[in-house]
C-alpha cells in the first residue's frame, strides 16, 4: 500500500494541486496532510477545496488551531522580534482571507490521526506527538528521545512536519520517525522545489521516499506580489533560500542556508 503525506501547505495551493496529482500518478492510495494549511503564501481559501475534493485527511497544525479559534498569533513559538514581525504579517493576511466556514473546518480538525496497516501502528501528528508546535529538527533530536516518543505514544511509524525540512530516523524494532517536509516553501537549499513523502507498506516492510516536487513557483511569486505580501517571502519562493524565521533553526541547519 502506498500512502502520500503532505506537510505544511502555507497557502500554496499550486504546490498542493501538483502534489496531489503527482502522488496519484505514483500510485498513492490515500493522502494525508499534517497541518499548517495557512501562512506565507497567497489566497488561503484555495487550499480547502483541493483537500476536500481529493479526500485528503488532515491533522490540525498550530496555525490551523490559531486561525480556527480566532487567536491573535500563529503559535509558531518564534523568539526573535524580526521573525515574529514577519510571522504576524503572514498570520493576519491568512486570517483575513480565510472564510468563516473554512475557519470552522480548521477548528474541528483532529490533533492526531492513527491507523494500522499490516499490524504497523501509524501515528500522524503536526510537530511531535506530545505537542503540536514542538520543533523536531534532525540535528537537535536524539534517537533515544524518539524511541521514548514511539514507546509512550504506542506507534511504530510517527510522521510529523512543522520544521519545514524533511528527514527520517530509523528506531529500534524497525520503528521509524519521519518528518515529511512541507509543500509551502522550498527547503533553504537554493532550489525552488518543495517536498512531500511517500510511504510504501508491504508485508510488514516500510519504504520511505522523499519526493522533490516542481510546481509553478513563478506564478505563486506573482500572486504573492499582487497580494502585497512581503518581498522577503517572495525572494524565498524564487530563490529557494529562507530569509525569515531563521532564529529557530539549529546551527547545523542554519549553516546549510544562505541567510
Amino acid at each position: 500500500m502506498k500512502l502520500a503525506f503532505f506537510g505544511g501547505i502555507y497557502n500554496n495551493a499550486l504546490a498542493l494541486d501538483a502534489a496531489i496529482q503527482d502522488a496519484q500518478d505514483r500510485g498513492a492510495e490515500r493522502q494525508y496532510c499534517l497541518g499548517d494549511l495557512g501562512a506565507f503564501g497567497a489566497h488561503p481559501d484555495q487550499v480547502f477545496p483541493l483537500l476536500i475534493e481529493n479526500d485528503v485527511a488532515v491533522v490540525q497544525g498550530n496555525y490551523d488551531h490559531s486561525i480556527g479559534n480566532d487567536l491573535k498569533d500563529c503559535q509558531c513559538g518564534y523568539t526573535d522580534p524580526r521573525d515574529n514581525y514577519f510571522a504576524q504579517i503572514s498570520y493576519e493576511y491568512t486570517y483575513a482571507n480565510t472564510s468563516p466556514e473554512n475557519r470552522q473546518w480548521l477548528k474541528e480538525l483532529p490533533q492526531e490521526i492513527r491507523f494500522e496497516v499490516d499490524g504497523q501502528r501509524i501515528l500522524l501528528c503536526h510537530g511531535s506527538p506530545r505537542k503540536t508546535n514542538e520543533f523536531l529538527w534532525e540535528s537537535t533530536t536524539s534517537t533515544h528521545f524518539l524511541e521514548k516518543l514511539a514507546d509512550e505514544h504506542e506507534a511504530d511509524i510517527i510522521l510529523g512536519t512543522h520544521t519545514g525540512l524533511h528527514w527520517q530516523r530509523e528506531l529500534s524494532n524497525e520503528r521509524l520517525f519521519v518528518n515529511v517536509g512541507v509543500l509551502g516553501r522550498p527547503e533553504n537549499d537554493g532550489n525552488t522545489n518543495v517536498w512531500y513523502t511517500l510511504l510504501t507498506l508491504e508485508n510488514g516492510n516500510c519504504g520511505v521516499e522523499f519526493i522533490p516536487l516542481e510546481y509553478d513557483f513563478r506564478r505563486l511569486a506573482r500572486e504573492m506580489r499582487e497580494e502585497s505580501l512581503p518581498e522577503e517571502f517572495i525572494v524565498t519562493i524564487l530563490s529557494g533560500w529562507w530569509t525569515t524565521c531563521l532564529e529557530v533553526l539549529p546551527g547545523r541547519e542554519r549553516r546549510n542556508g544562505r541567510f
Binding site: T79, E134, W137, T140, S142, G251, R255
Partner: protein, 298 residues
C-alpha cells in the same frame, strides 16, 4: 534566600528533555560582577566533572529519552577533558556549550567541528558577551574581555560554527533593539555576517545580589500566578543538571541547598517547589536557559 510564604507552587518534571552538566564547576577565568553563582578563578566550591562522570550520566540518560545536552560552568573550556567530553556527547545527541569565548583554541574547534560532522547532531556554542562594546561589556566581565571574546567568536566562525551570542541585560528593556542592531554591525565587522543573538535577564543571586539588591520577598511565584501559566516555560519542568555534588533542579539554583534532588538522574526526577527569587525571573521571562530551536510556547 528561601521564602517562608505559603502556597509555594510545586512543579513536576514533565520529561527530562535537557540534561545539563556543570562541567567546570564554579571555576572560571573571569569574575563577572553579575554571575549568579559567583564563579571565579578561586571559587572551587563546585569542581570539574570527569569524562567518566559525564559518560555515566549520558548512559543513564538514554532510557530516560533525553533530547539534548548542555554544558556550563564556570568556563567549560577550563576542564581539560572538555573536548573529549563533547566528542563523546555528540555520539548520544545534540550538545550546547556555554562559554565566555576567551580561551578557545583553534585546534579544539577543528576537532569539535569534525566530531559534529561525524555525529549528525548539532554542536552549539553560546558565547557570553554583555553588550556590543567594551564600554558596556568590560565593566561587568573584566578588562579586555570584549576584545578577547570577539577573538573567540572569530575562531568559532572560522571553524564553521554559528555561535549564539548571549548577553545579560544591563540596560532598560526599551533599548533591546538598539543594542541588538549595534551588536549585529559589530559582529559583521568581525566577519560574522549572520549572527544569532539572545538577550538574557539578570538573575539577582550570587555576585549579582551583592552588586544590586537581590530579590525582595514579594518577588516570588505563587499558586495564583501559576493559574493558566505554561509550565513548559520553566526550566525545572524539563531539565536537570549534574554537578560534582549530585543532580540539581536547574543550572540557576546550583548554590541553593534544596536544589540537589538526588545522586542519580532517576532520583532527581522528583518535583520542585518554586520558593526562590530566581524562580520568579524564570517565570517572568521563560525559556531563559534553552536554545531558540527547542522552545515551544502555548
Amino acid at each position: 534566600m528561601s521564602t517562608a510564604i505559603k502556597d509555594v507552587p510545586i512543579v513536576a518534571l514533565r520529561a527530562l528533555d535537557e540534561l545539563w552538566f556543570q562541567v567546570s564547576g564554579t571555576l572560571c577565568n573571569l569574575e563577572c560582577s553579575h554571575c549568579f553563582i559567583s564563579c571565579s578563578p578561586k571559587n572551587d566550591s563546585f569542581g570539574h566533572l570527569s569524562f567518566e562522570t559525564v559518560q555515566a550520566a549520558l548512559e543513564e540518560s538514554v532510557p530516560l529519552g533525553v533530547k539534548e545536552y548542555y554544558f556550563t560552568g564556570g568556563e567549560p573550556f577550563l576542564n581539560k577533558e572538555i573536548v573529549p567530553i563533547l566528542e563523546e556527547t555528540l555520539r548520544y545527541g545534540p550538545a550546547t556549550v556555554l562559554t565566555n569565548g576567551t580561551i578557545l583554541k583553534q585546534e579544539w574547534l577543528e576537532r569539535l567541528r569534525t566530531a559534529e560532522d561525524c555525529s549528525g547532531y548539532t554542536l552549539e556554542f553560546r558565547v557570553s558577551i554583555d553588550g556590543p562594546s567594551p564600554e558596556i561589556n568590560d565593566p561587568i566581565r573584566g578588562e579586555r574581555t570584549f576584545e578577547r571574546a570577539m577573538q573567540g567568536v572569530e575562531k568559532l566562525v572560522n571553524a564553521g560554527f554559528l555561535p549564539i551570542i548571549t548577553m545579560t541585560r544591563t540596560w532598560g528593556d526599551e533599548e533591546d533593539q538598539k543594542i541588538l542592531s549595534e551588536f549585529k554591525n559589530v559582529l559583521a565587522n568581525h566577519g560574522y555576517s549572520r549572527p544569532r543573538l539572545k538577550i538574557l535577564p539578570r538573575l539577582k543571586i550570587g555576585a549579582e545580589a551583592e552588586r544590586s539588591c537581590g530579590y525582595s520577598q514579594t518577588e516570588r511565584v505563587t499558586q495564583e500566578l501559576m493559574a493558566d501559566y505554561d509550565k513548559s516555560q520553566l526550566v525545572c519542568n524539563h531539565s536537570r543538571i549534574v554537578s560534582d555534588r549530585g543532580v540539581h533542579v536547574c543550572p540557576i539554583l546550583l548554590d541553593a541547598p534544596d536544589s540537589i534532588l538526588g545522586d542519580t538522574l532517576e532520583e532527581a526526577m522528583q518535583p520542585f517547589a518554586l520558593r526562590h527569587g530566581a524562580c520568579f525571573t524564570c517565570y517572568l521571562y521563560g525559556s531563559i536557559c534553552t536554545n531558540a530551536s527547542s522552545t515551544t510556547r502555548e
